[in-house]
Symmetry: D2
């Protein structure tokens, strides 16, 4: 792992998730630019201190000295956003498989470059669209691909949060938030951070691509440079239309990500904060409610739960499923399509963000992705 | 009542609602173009047969012969849509108060004309945006006007149905649906029928006006002339942004109207199919769930329920509250703002529909309302 | 109607419900022991003042003078509880059909007497177990009788309220509550008022009878003579077991009546405060959620809704369905079993209350019903 | 760990949970009576093969040869039920801290003996009432102990499952189920397996003890020796009454554990299958809904989540919190009351089961715990 040390929240998620499927153990890493912090962190975890590195260069050099079967197999990049691209690139080039936190890059060009390197090096390169790891999201994907809702004719995805509300209204306060500082956060706040998850959920569950968007962004205040809210009309590859809505000023919302997909036979609806329920509305019939671990679910879903039905799955379990997907890919097993989010998903996400910004900047016009 | 006889569903709603508050009794009307049907309908209801009329002209003439205190006070227009305007006009000019089904006209010009006549004749003229009669919608309006969620910064309203799905996919079938025939349904199907309810809910609950829209409509098939789905970006009068989403191809949805309004202190969320719950999310505090008939609700809400808390209210009760509002207005009582939807709401609705169509026809551009 | 005048809440319910199906109009009655109140109430409703009576004796005498086809057909008894028995008896003997508020009597002997009179006079005698009028309760009854959940093996009904909490803790306050005064409320508070509804729901939906109970009542304070909470174990006629739970000290609960019935194929669950959802859990399959007015419901359910699906039904609609059942019975139509609660249900309810009290008094032992 | 190898579901839960708080690593154990299986399991996990033992005796002997700071600290007992008591005893006597799966023993005498040994050896001895690890259960405990619902006056806990339904109706099938075989499962099926969880939840959240029970058990078939369903009336230590309901024939229910506690100020309600919502009903005020990781929760709750609000917690997270509690206890930190379930909870559970069986056997009479 690079980054993700001591007080890193996302580091915790990765450590736990990596361990969940008995596929990976944390061996070492370059956990912090403060090496003392990294060392004490590693000591707390009882890691072998010889595999705690000062820098990513040290890590690569030293690990390469080890016999191949003792080397770290996968390296998780959990550093601040601006380092994702360069570090992933370096690690891929050095022959490691990589799991990189989102956003994987700051431009689509960089993402495409990483995609090409990964292909060339035949490396597994996962991007953490974590929500794709939930069993019921996978069940949704299975059911749509099996035609259970028919031809898709309407898509609606939402990601509402309220976390920026407490800081956005005071000009001094909002200047202190790194997410609202273009030099640190890149070109987008709301679309880049959460809108892209909604985008990914649409493409992931439907198997369709979003071809163009018309986007209305909201900065709320004139002196605020980044979007804190925005919606996009969508054109999908099968000719259907849809909508994505994202907000960080939906006051008091937590992680209210939800998606509804309607076909000509029925629809499927899912909500992240209540992830163990999948609602299947059916033309002329009662709604059906799917839950994890039941006999009636898809093989992909069944492989994504660890216990019988009735045991709630959480966000750590979702990330764990992604690590399992990565493990299967490394082992070159014949596993499930969608078992982990790939760099192509990272590329598509970057293109969406860029198109959304362009659409809005031009005065809300259609922009191809 | 004009129209609303025998097998009319909406007639049932009006009869029951009119009666609910002990303000009105159905005395008579011109219930049907088939007078025999009208007579047997009236006989079934044990109405005085002398007040069952062949035409609206007969009705007006005969009622005018009666002493003023014996005349019908209010006349409900529940005829097919294309007659709403002309009949309402005639009745208003003849000195009656009028309750007209939605859509009140087919153009905003007509609606404005009715508004002017009603003002001139000092008549009460109600338009049945029935959902404004739900106790929890009124509670929402009260709480927003009292500042409980602070300054509004985000609005999102949805009205999803799936009823057109079974008929839209077959070219022969869809030609038989009057709602999809411009000569019968007017210029819009989805926006005109349900999008306008979502529009009304936004203006009703927030007290803001929607100044302009950018709308993306969906006809689904090239040979289908009217919209069956569509979304609008919004600009509201206080500078905030929002969105309205409506669909009749959200397969297997029934009447999934919902609204979420977020201010800088919190938000309020309500759903029509579960109308007795109002969700108040609050910055930094647990969500609160309001229910009808409790000590903690507003005076307006309290006046809109008939029983103590725990007795579910339905759609008939909502319409009953609107009739109560009309009764109070006729009695010139000092009642609550928003006690019944006025012709101005009908005017605003028509303008929204026209702007939405224009915005879409021009290629999804901003259009003022 | 006798009783139910002016400020009577239950009178409102009956007036509206009676009117809902276009079967009944309120013609007159003996609305109050204060005749002036009764007269002004009748004037407000624009009733014929010649049919506003001082007493029930006057009512019977005067109505009998009218030709049969002009007489009141059905008389609703909405007086205070202690008058239900004597008035119902008098009205039945006088040849009227009767709809009586619950509890219909204070002893099972009286209830049996009324049952016998009604049979002898061939009168329709309805008891207002209003919850049986909800469309989804009727759907539940239909599905169970059609065998959709198989052989019943477990029943659980709950009725939790909290309304006594604010008055129960102060010895002075609780003495003022008529419901806690045995001289006014009879022998039971919680079981008699709401436990009996849970009992009725079990017998209504399952078609089984409850043969014996073992009951644990709670008076909360030694000086309080009546139960404010209690549960019963059940033995049902098909050999299965079950439980009824009722409380008036479930603080802040409103009308939380719910029932779950499990058979060997699946189960059905319903909640009064959310009455338009019926949950069908099925062995090995996803849960199905039934809603009113859909093509997939039973004929009985379909006859119990007035509008297409998606229009929420409330408590008034439930009572309206009971009035429709009474109307069909008076017209001697071949209608649905369970279309209105009969005096036999009143008899069974009284027997349940008596058995529950006896079981508890003897120290929680089994008592036959 | 003893037991919990290869295909053991509960072993997975313990491994993941142990790891979650960075407190524990799985070092070794006696994973299986089939040593080859144990070895291949350990190899898969890349454990040091010198610490994979054939028997618990080997484990104790070999670990004792290691310096104290290298020895296993805690040993998790995840063997079949009948071994829990003897192995826990052996491990406690050998100076290890122990985490034992439920049921910890087959009689209360054995449980008391373990309690005494643990006290004597000053060992931490945890019993896996896993549900006490959910953040919202801990929030509930905090709120009740802080008096937020006032004096408790009513308790209702339910644990409904349907898993026995598919096997109970065929005499041959049900004989094959080990849980229904007294020689393997002990004296109770439903009460012993899940009723005891409901019992524990009541005592855990309220801080009260249940002093006596009157229990009605159901074997469903005469030739079935163990209970598959049952309810208990309760007498609690503060004089209040309550009820516990458990079933394994609530067809198609998964793990429907729920608890409601009502005090004189309000009530709290929680459901295991939707564990991230805690419902606080309040006398005269809107219901409040608590969710994990928010600023308004208790310190105990805050310490029981790993991420900010909006990230759903699951059953693994609950178990992880219990491991954290054990770690704190071993470190002799001043942590939270209720941070892990203790052997005293195991003792109380065994007493409950015994009292329930006795109460039922005597014909549903009160039995002290």
């Amino acid at each position: 792992m690079v980054g993700g040390g001591s007080d890193s929240l996302i580091g915790v998620v990765h450590r736990i998730a990596a361990n969940m499927g008995d596929n990976f153990n944390l061996i070492g890493g370059a956990f912090s630019i403060d090496f003392k912090l990294a060392e004490s962190f590693a000591a707390k975890l009882e890691l072998d201190h010889t595999r705690v590195y000062k820098t990513i260069d040290d890590l690569i050099k030293s690990e390469h000295l080890l016999p191949e079967n003792e080397r770290m197999q996968v390296i998780t990049v959990a550093t601040p956003n601006f380092l994702h691209y360069s570090m992933s690139k370096q690690l891929l080039e050095a022959g490691f498989h990589v799991i990189c936190e989102k956003p994987v890059t700051t431009t689509s060009e960089e993402a495409i470059e990483l995609q090409q390197i990964a292909e060339r090096r035949q490396a597994v390169f996962a991007v953490t669209h974590t929500y794709t790891g939930y069993p019921m999201v996978r069940q949704m994907k299975s059911m749509i691909s099996e035609g259970m809702i028919g031809k898709i004719q309407k898509v609606d995805a939402q990601y509402y949060q309220g976390w920026i509300n407490p800081v956005i209204h005071d000009p001094e306060e909002r200047k202190k938030v790194w997410r609202l500082d273009p030099s640190k956060a890149g070109s987008s706040c709301c679309m880049g951070d959460i809108g892209v998850h909604a985008f990914n959920m649409v493409e992931y569950t439907t198997g369709l691509t979003i071809d163009s968007v018309l986007c209305d962004l909201n900065m709320l205040y004139d002196d605020n440079l980044l979007d804190v809210d925005g919606s996009s009309f969508l054109r999908l590859s099968n000719g259907s239309k849809g909508i994505i809505r994202a907000s960080q000023i939906a006051t008091a919302e937590e992680n209210n990500l939800r998606i509804a997909v309607y076909g000509d036979k029925g629809g499927l609806k899912w909500e992240q904060e209540n992830p163990n329920y999948l609602y299947h509305v059916i033309e002329g019939q009662p709604m059906q409610v799917y839950k994890p671990g039941n006999p009636y679910t898809s093989d992909f879903e069944k492989k994504s739960v660890k216990l019988p039905s009735g045991h709630p799955e959480g966000i750590f379990d979702a990330m764990g499923n992604i690590y399992n997907g990565v493990a299967a890919a490394i082992r070159e097993e014949d596993y499930f399509d969608g078992a982990y989010p790939k760099i192509i998903d990272g590329v598509r996400g970057m293109r969406f963000i860029e198109a959304a910004l362009k659409s809005n900047a031009k005065g809300q016009v259609w922009e191809e992705i």
